[in-house]
Amino acid sequence: MLILNNVSKFYQKNAVLNDVTYHFDCLKYCIVGPNGIGKTTLLMLAAGLEDLNCGEIVFNDESVYLTETKRHLGISSDKIKLPDFLTAQQLLEFHCSQHDCPFPNILIDRLGFRAQLTTQVSALSLGSLKKASLLLALAHQPKCLLLDEPTTGLDHNSREWLLDFLHQYQGQVIVTSHETIFTENAHYKLVEFDHLNKFSETI
């Protein structure tokens, strides 16, 4: 399980996160909170993509910055700028080669992404870019999925499939979203991240 211990993150002396502590004990979470409060930064830190200023983040008792731990984490966020000079296929092939996992053909078909595989990432539409980002997060079947606004830009069918997929997902799922399909979903524990950098469990 993911644990944040006294986590602080500053950008040029401005504290985005200040002494945040939280234990994600349940399987599914939906984090809500005002825009710009630091939800995305929290996910980036939880995936080990940004350095901490203070504190520690561990997943199953191992630091998220270790390569072995990263194998068990999957993240999708619009903030992660993907190499836009590659095709989607090349991006996925490289990802699978890194994680030593099979090419995610089934996921690609379910998301209706096959036609876009040979398209360069820079030429993908907003929805297709989101699908590529989701495929990178899901392809290696991580034990913990960190999804930042996962349904933004998705078409109806893909959105329905994703919700169903996440519902049945065996690992931990942490999403940030304002959509009612997550916030009013009984499968997700709703936690609010507030201005005081505290998590409050609303349900």
């Binding site: 992660i80 993907l82 590659l86 490289f94 080669s97 994680h99």
Partner: protein, 367 residues
Amino acid sequence: MYKYSLVRGKIYYHELKQLLPSVANLLAFLLSILYLAISASILTALISLSVIADINTSIEQRIIYQLGYSVLLYFLIRIQKSAILGLNYEHYLASLPAPKILKHTNTVILTVVAGNLPLLAPLFLLMFTPSLSIFINQLHFPIFALSILIVALISLKNKTFPWLSFVFTPLVFVFCVEEGSVSPMSINSIWLFIMVVEAYYEPLSFITDKSLRIKRYWQIRWIAIIKKPASILTRIFLSGLFIGMAAYVQNKMGQVANDYLQVLFIWVLSILIGSYQFDNEKFYLHYQYYLNGLLNRAGLRYCLDISPAICITLISCIALYLWLHFSLNLIVLLPLEVLVTIICVSKFHRNFFIIPSLLSGFLLYIQ
């Protein structure tokens, strides 16, 4: 109609302004140290035209000079390709109701501006041909001038490097053609024909990066470099120009540079090549989160990313040894100084040149 040209001109100017910061640190250094040598270096390419025009030039020398001239022009225009064609605004430009002829005319004008003297000089020289009989006797030069126009076309039109024209053909000429067996006109005609074929058919374009299966990190970096080659091409262009200029001066003076000059030369070259690391640092910053998520080690990535600079360094070392007859003891300093410069770029950014300069100063002192 006038307004369309104005837009294209403004785009060209704006794009060049965008391009300059990527080499600004290097240019600032070069301008402060070598402001006289830079103007001289541009003239070096033009001086080589006299060797090319001479009908008695040996095949080997002809191939080297013509290839050098063509490659320099190719890089000069290739670096500015996006600015000339307005690629970042292509959809907007396509939406404008300007006639095709106007669009092409603007592209030609901007290409001439971008190619500048190296593009125009061979054509200007043709205008000073004294008579028709001389023109016919020296037909190899008009054909070369024509091939220079094709080089400009290739650098704008083709997506892949012209391997046939710039690698395969010169190698065949140098190693397979005996001196005196083929006339300069025939050589230039065959070369021109191959360039035209490559310009229109791009026979090696089937090797596209889209079909490349990506398994390793270095492949990603390689594609990134191919997609935006301006930075690496600038280094190759300037290094080639610098070495070529020194070779020309040495050749004319009939002397090899002394140790002091060799250390100075290596210092400038190391700053020139090592500053390529700015491109890597920009890449790290742009794809920061994606790269942080990769499972391979950052140290290993760093080593792979500096390999293009190391390659240019090693090729330069060979050129310094074989062509400029530099001492081996001093040549080994080049890779060392390039590595120091690369590390200094990562650590000190704009002040990158201080430590390599102090190192060179120390070497000069102990010489």
